[in-house]
Subunit: 358 residues, 2 copies
Amino acid sequence: MARAYNFSAGPATLPLEVLEEAQGELLNYKGTGMSIMEHSHRGKAYMAVHAEAIANTRELLGLSDDYAVLFLQGGASLQFAMLPMNLLGAGQTADYTNSGSWAAKAIKEAKLIGNVNVAADCGKEIPTRVPTESELQLTPGASYVHITSNETISGAQWKTFPKTEAPLVADMSSDILSRPFDASQFGLIYAGAQKNLAPAGMALVILRKELAERVPSTVPSMLKYSTHIENDSMFNTCPCFTIYMYMLVTRWIKKTGLDALYTQNVNKAARLYSAIDSSDFYKGTAVPECRSDMNVTWRLPSEELEAAFIKEAADAGFSGLKGHRSVGGIRASIYNAFPAEGVDALVAFMKDFEARNG
Amino acid sequence: MARAYNFSAGPATLPLEVLEEAQGELLNYKGTGMSIMEHSHRGKAYMAVHAEAIANTRELLGLSDDYAVLFLQGGASLQFAMLPMNLLGAGQTADYTNSGSWAAKAIKEAKLIGNVNVAADCGKEIPTRVPTESELQLTPGASYVHITSNETISGAQWKTFPKTEAPLVADMSSDILSRPFDASQFGLIYAGAQKNLAPAGMALVILRKELAERVPSTVPSMLKYSTHIENDSMFNTCPCFTIYMYMLVTRWIKKTGLDALYTQNVNKAARLYSAIDSSDFYKGTAVPECRSDMNVTWRLPSEELEAAFIKEAADAGFSGLKGHRSVGGIRASIYNAFPAEGVDALVAFMKDFEARNG
């Protein structure tokens, strides 16, 4: 089988060995005569998957017992609403940083629920970037401070996280488990699964359990973190197959180790940025100190050349390089599972394309 | 491979040929060099899956253009909240019928949002049943009338649907696409996927588009039906793999036809009910005229005998027969994909067990 180089921003490439394992046991999970998709979520076979998925997360992020690990439906987009519904009390203010499209979406939804202070706004700047810690105008006594750790569309990433008095909350959809970090800095972390974690259809939510106690009693059961903490993410039928895939992916991450994986990710990104910087033809979208290791974004001298680049790349087996429709340009998403040889092949293609069109 | 007889109430048995097709193309979807799980939800390969999933639904249920077909996350449990958040305006009343555990959950969540009138309550009666149309005490000018078409736990099913002035809404989680019915009777239908439709992780929602216009502007984007109608269920990354599986399952249903499938379902259920009725040892839980064709529930003379029955059945390869932990007893869930020979095998086991213990 010729495996495509899939630069899609999400759903994204998954580790081949994970896909192979899932395929091998898809009809008969561990000799039970059923697919893992067919097992009751309250049965022994699935419960072991669920428990390992949580244990792997705890181990990889070094989570203390103060934190709960939840598998929820609705992706990060539903978290944009659940977060303020649970943590932003009446008369309080939440601080949000605007670093681009995804931060702006989080802000928009939070404003429907309560008071929002935009503590820094560089959301529309080109070159793209995230705020610096010193420019944050934080609210004394804020409910929480929200950041978007990696802007999937603009390709800007927080390299270190700000120190805040209020609980720090991060949308880590596009860089969770791509690098080690101190999880105890955070009150709550959420991430859509379809980039580094699993197929689409799940959000990983990690939170200090005490924060879940703030929720008003009028919030529906499914939208309360406390419901899911009390029921170990099984208040209703959880997305079992997606969690199973997540378990396999986290097992795969553990095998390499988060530190080694991070080194690989930095190296992959560095090769692409080096190709961009060594050329006058390609121009990186993000300011150098905020460049994402996950979503590498750049422009060509014209939109016509960008269209030709994307088309020729697709013909050469590089899929998903078109920048997000809202901003254009080129975007190479190179998550954990994206192979280094695919990056090298793209760099060679870029040099060739420039030689022919530069 | 020895395939188990899986009587689980959900996640439940899936058609073997669907699982085989998914397995065959899991690593390389139609020669694209990627799994369907890895394809962008906005790419050509997945978009065709999405479109077919919607088209199959429209065809199987004969839906007019007045209806939207949505694939949402959060299962039926999130619909318990979304429904009143969207359709139950301030100062209005929604009528709910209480027919058992699932209807009661829908009522509990709706009460958090607005005024609820319980139009009939037989939720705790034993033998279990659903209300009759004549006992409904409906509210003039109600926002909608809610029924649970099949109570998965109690095994009671609405055989015909009430005529109501207000839009009729049904939770059809456990019997959707198991029988033909006139969808134009309904304002809104929702169903968790993990019984007749697909693996867990999705709710199918079918609604008259005009009803979505009622939603207050303060409802978060992800919780508004109008958002998902406008974006064809792609406001955020949809649960692509689950929708792919749903597409394969609906293709499989189309091949048999809903009428023929219904005949099969009735026949399967009739064989089990006949085994129950021809014995003094087994006793059906639901009143005969409300007996579910999907979830067949019965009791044995004692809880000890029930425990022995479940254990011996499991040893003989019959999985998932234990009644819901809230009510006990025996439950055989025999959805569309459950094979007739599995029902015959269970009937033989029942006769043997009775002979040894009766």
